[in-house]
Structure formats: C-alpha cells, structure tokens
C-alpha cells in the first residue's frame, strides 16, 4: 500500500516537474542578444570596477590584490573629502535652484495663453545645447575682461566678478550655469505633471474660497510632489556625477575649489593612471548616488496620492 502511495507521489512529482518547452531553444536564442548586451554593458563593467577597486597597478601594468586598502586610503585623503564637499555643495545648490526654477517656469508655461508653443520652444532651448558648447559659451560670457557678465554688472554699478576664477564664486557660478542648462528639463517634467492634474479639484478649491497663493501651496504643490520627486531623482543622478561643464570650464579649479568626486576620480584614473584607487572612488560615488536615489524613491512613495 505504502509503495503504491510512493509510486503515485512520484508520478505526481514527475507530472509537476517543469517540462522543456518545445520553443525554449528559440526563446533563449531570441533573448540572448539582449542578455549578452546587458551583461557586456552593465554587469561586466560594474563587476570589473569592483575587481579593480581591490587591486593596485604598477607602471608595467601588473596588478596586485590589496583588499580594502584603496577604500582605507580614501578615508585619509583630504582631496576625497574636498571632492565630497564640492559635490554636495553643487548638488544642493543646483538642485534647489533647478527644482524651484523648474516649478516656476512650468507654471508660467502652463498658464501662457498666447504663443504657448513658441514660449515652450524658447524656454526649453538650453537643453538642446551640448554641454561642451554650453561650457565654451559660458567661458566667453564670464570672461573677466571681455565677457558680457561683467559688462552687465558694470551697467548696474556693481564691481566686476572673477566668476569661475574665484574659489568663492566658482561653485555658485557653475550651479547657476547648470541651472540655466537643465531647469527647462525640470520644467518639462513638472509641466507634464501639471497637465495631468485633475482640473475640477482646482475648481473645487476656487469654490471653497482658496486664493491663488493658497491654491498653490495647499493644492497644486502637494499634488505635484510625486512629479517633483521624480524630477529630483533624475537631476540628483546628474548633479552628483557632475563632470562635463566643470571639466571644460575649470578642470576642478581654481585650486581644488570645483574638484567634484567625479572630476577628481577622472584625474586619478586617466591623468595619474591610478586605476585601482580611481575605481574605489567611483564605486564610493556610485554607492552615494544609489543611496540618494533609494532615499528619494522612498520619499516618492510617501508623497504619492
């Protein structure tokens, strides 16, 4: 009886066992390019960077496993802490300006009654410029002797500024340039959010007696929060990895005043060829970016309605 029962169980297990789908091979063959591409472009470089971070390289190219030495070295590296400070100073300043400016611009564009298409095209045009072109353009504009910026300051009776040549002003100046470049991108995202908001809620607020200012603070802004957090995530990733405009305009200077972690890592890796240390630094930066993104994702869930 017991053996019969065991035989029956075995039969059931055999029936439940996954069978090879006749199309399995075709499915595997068709998905292979995507799997290989993902591995080659994401998984391999990431794993390779982790491997590099645990190694030191000699001038002849020989590698040596050093464990966590590269990471220990980061803790004592004053340039790393400077880079972290510069990165976050630029991040907070740029993000605040871009989010506030993006919301303001989006509301202006949303309420534009005339030439709305033209206004949108005009205001989003900075996004279309490559960073290299934008950087070169701003170098000329901010030139202390021939630039337009100091000329405009002189028109309103203000003394000329050194702009990116000043260790004090370089971070605010770069934050402003990035704000000019990317605020329209935030505005586009927020504008999409505004357009998808239920309009009768605003009519209800009108009937409830809310002034335009109250409507903005109590209705529009809370309803836009999920969209704003999405824009914040996207801009956070870019701002924390800030590289192109800084490299074109200041190369991290004057001194190390604009030496973000990304720029510092690039210099270590491709100017001093300290690949292992640069990899450890970049993985640290990636972890920071990931942490910020995960935190913001939690915030997005908290503000969802």
């Amino acid at each position: 009886m017991a053996s019969l029962s065991r035989a029956a169980s075995a039969q059931v297990i055999a029936d439940d066992a996954p069978r090879l789908n006749p199309h399995s091979f075709q499915l595997a063959a068709l998905s292979a390019p995507a799997v290989l591409f993902t591995f080659a472009m994401i998984a391999f470089p990431f794993c390779y960077a982790i491997w590099l971070g645990f190694h030191s390289f000699s001038a002849t190219g020989h590698s040596r496993f050093v464990g966590l030495d590269n990471y220990r070295k980061l803790i004592g590296d004053i340039e790393f802490w400077n880079g972290l400070y510069v990165t976050f100073a630029l991040y907070f300043l740029g993000l605040a300006l871009q989010i506030a400016g993006g919301i303001y611009l989006a509301i202006l564009l949303f309420n534009a009654k005339r030439l709305s298409g033209f206004m949108r095209s005009l205001f989003i045009s900075p996004i279309l410029l490559p960073s290299a072109v934008a950087g070169m353009m701003w170098i000329i504009i901010l030139d202390p002797s021939i630039g337009l910026a100091n000329y405009l300051l002189s028109l309103v009776g203000l003394p000329p500024s050194e702009w990116i040549a000043s260790p004090v002003w370089v971070i605010p100046t770069i934050a402003l340039i990035d704000t000019w470049h990317w605020t329209p991108y935030v505005a586009l995202i927020v504008l999409g959010g505004l357009q998808s908001l239920p309009q009768n809620v605003f009519e209800a607020a009108q009937i409830d007696g809310a002034s335009p200012a109250r409507t903005f603070w109590r209705i529009t802004l809370p309803l836009l929060l999920p969209t704003i957090v999405t824009a914040t995530v996207l801009r956070s990733v870019d701002l924390l990895r800030f590289f192109d405009i800084i490299y074109i305009m200041t190369q991290g200077g004057p001194g190390n005043a604009s030496n973000t972690l990304n720029v510092y890592g690039f210099k270590i890796g491709f100017e001093y060829f300290n690949i292992g240390y640069a990899s450890a630094l970049m993985l640290t930066l990636s972890t920071i970016v990931l942490g910020v993104v995960l935190t913001l994702n939690r915030l997005r869930k908290a503000v969802a309605w």
Binding site: N200, A204, A205, I207, D208, G209, S211, I219, L223, W305
Partner: protein, 357 residues
C-alpha cells in the same frame, strides 16, 4: 439660503450660443433639477451660477445681489462635482475642513461642523482615510459633506450620481432628497437621467440646445408636456408618436388611414393645425381592449419587466410600445387590440413640435 434669478443669459464659447437668452427664477429652499440630453447647456448653466464660467450676456442674481463679477469663492455656494473633485492628498477630514480653514474658523468650530456633517452622512469612520481608500458611494458622501459643512446659500450638484452603480444611485438619490428636506436650502441638481429629475425635483427645468423647453413641477412636465421634445425626453419608455390627419370628421392614422376615436376636442386641435399633427400617447395609456373596440396591432417583441410587460408593435408603419399587465401574457406574433383614452392623448404641431392647445 437664497433665491436664484437668471436674466437673459447668453453663453458662447466663441461659436454658436450654448445658452440663448435664458431667464429663470428659482425660489428660496426650492429643489430644482436641470435635465436634458448631453450638450444641452445644463452643466454650463450650473457653472455660470457657481461662478466658474462668466456669462457672455445677462445677469445672475443670488438673493438680491447681482453676482456677475463676484468670484466663486464669495458667492457662498457649494458644489458637488460629477467625479467628486475631492482633494486626493488630503484625508476626508481635511477635505471637509479645508473651506472652513480658509474662512479662518477656530479649530473647535471646524471640528464640530465636520463631525456633525460626518455623522449626518454616516462617514465618521472614514475621516482619517484618503479618498483613494474609499468606495464610489463613500466618496460621493464626502463630497456632499464638504458642501454641507460650509452652510452655503445654495447647493449645486453636477451629475453627482452618474459614476455610481444602479443600486447605489437609487440609495444616494433618496439620501440627497432626504438631505434637502432636512437642510431646507436651495438646491440645483443637474442630470441627464429623467428618473432622477422626476423623483427629486420640486420643479424641473427641461433644457434643449440651450433653451428652456419647460419649467414646471414633475407632474405637470409628465402630464402636460409643453412640446414634443419634453414629451419624448421625460418618461420611460418614451412616449409613442404617431402621425395623424383629419379625414372628413375622423382623426385617422396618416400611415394607413385607420380611424381613431378621440372626440371633438382633438378634432378641433387638428383642424386648427391644418389637418395634420403628431399624436403622442404614453405606453401606459395604450390599453388592451376587445377586438373591434380599438386598433389592431401585431406584437413584434415582448419585454417582461416583472411588474409590467412592454409590448412592441408597429402602428401604421411607426414603432410603438404599450405597457400592459403581465397577467395578460402577450406573445410575439399575436394580434392585440389597443385603445387610448382621449384625455391621455397629446397633439403636437408637425413643424414646431409645440403642443396644440
């Protein structure tokens, strides 16, 4: 509480008039229903009263005050929207308290008002929930609660039942009616559902193409429709319309010349209209009778509804319906005889559709 008067209202959105020279008086504490097909201008009219749409021409009075330029916030009216328009990021309590906070009421006063309204509407257990955690019926109640706490001069309802299922619609309809009797405030209710109009209104405004077709009590609108549009719009199934003409001294069906016994009054009406008219008779006023006492018709379709049975047939080439007693057990293909009481028959002008007096 206040009366509402509209004088010579014209509204256009740039094209043809959506509302054409409309005047209307709504008494204080009256429950008035605007009813009409989609695009007839009923919601636009409501939004004009609310202050959400400006008038192109004409005047709006709430009480004795002309409110044309008064913003919605200062009209002291409350509105319940079709999809409720609750603030999705606020709790039920927050939704109901918002207008009161804006008025600067004390927290204690706000709390008292919100809880009183919540108790009245049976939504107290949901005060801490957000709208997305509520069912359609509960959201509808919250929307009403948000209106009630404000103690407005008038309540405006813009098709608030259209998103509810049939059972809930009937229940909430009765609740709104009971609420109107309890609150004794002027209420304007917009719907395209004539059952809602008939069951809730003190008076009904039947609108078509931005023009008031009839403004009267539900009984009068049903019993004495002003024109063929009203007669066809109010009542379910719709009124039967049959072309008739005067042949000698007899009123006959235009399609096949069969005579109808309708009496002198209708003959006179037909004569004054040039001998041709559209006869209107409701399905319940077509009564089964003995063969030879009425018009014969062959049954094409039978719809048993339980309490009544709808019998579909052709009369002189025109589709018609009679509401009959289910006990008669009519069958498809069977020939029946029908008669209509002259007092229940309406005559409409062929061209204008106006009722022939």
């Amino acid at each position: 509480m206040a009366s509402i008067r509209l004088r010579n209202i014209v509204k256009t959105f740039g094209g043809p008039n959506v509302i054409s020279n409309l005047s209307l008086d709504i008494d204080d504490r009256e429950f008035v229903v605007f009813v009409g097909p989609s695009g007839c201008g009923k919601s636009t009219l409501l939004r004009i009263i609310a202050g959400l749409e400006p008038v192109t021409e004409g005047d709006v009075f709430i009480g004795e005050q002309r409110v044309n330029t008064l913003p919605a916030a200062r009209r002291n009216i409350a509105m319940v929207f079709q999809d409720y328009a609750l603030y999705p990021h606020m709790t039920v309590y927050g939704n109901m308290a918002f207008a009161l906070e804006l008025r600067g009421l004390s927290k204690a006063e706000i709390d008292t008002r919100v809880r009183r309204a919540a108790t009245m509407l049976d939504i107290e257990p949901y005060l801490d929930r957000r709208p997305k955690a509520l069912s359609g019926g509960q959201r509808q109640r919250v929307a009403m609660g948000r209106a009630i706490v404000r103690d407005p001069q008038a309540f405006l309802f813009d098709e608030p039942l259209s998103n509810l299922d049939a059972r809930l619609r009937g229940q909430v309809r009765a609740e709104i009616k009971a609420l109107s009797q309890q609150l004794k405030t002027t209420m304007i209710f917009v719907t395209h559902d004539q059952v809602e109009a008939m069951t809730m209104a003190d008076r009904i405004v039947v609108l078509h193409a931005g023009v008031i077709q009839q403004y009267d009590t539900p009984e009068q609108v049903y019993e004495k429709p002003a024109n063929q549009f009203v007669a066809g719009f109010i009542g379910s199934p719709t009124m039967n319309f049959l072309p008739v003409r005067l042949q000698g001294d007899s009123v006959v069906l235009a399609g096949d010349g069969r005579a109808l016994s309708l009496g002198d009054e209708h003959r006179g009406r037909l004569r004054s209209a040039g001998g041709e008219a559209t006869l209107g008779v409701r399905p319940e006023h077509l009564v089964l009778c003995n063969p030879g006492d009425g018009i014969a018709a062959s049954i094409k379709l039978v719809e048993p509804l339980g309490s009544d049975t709808m019998v579909h047939f052709d009369l002189a080439g025109t589709a018609a319906i009679a509401r009959v007693d289910p006990a008669t057990k009519p069958k498809v293909g069977e020939t029946i005889a029908l008669r209509m009481a002259p007092s229940r028959v309406h005559m409409f002008d062929v061209k204008s559709g106006q009722v022939l007096a």
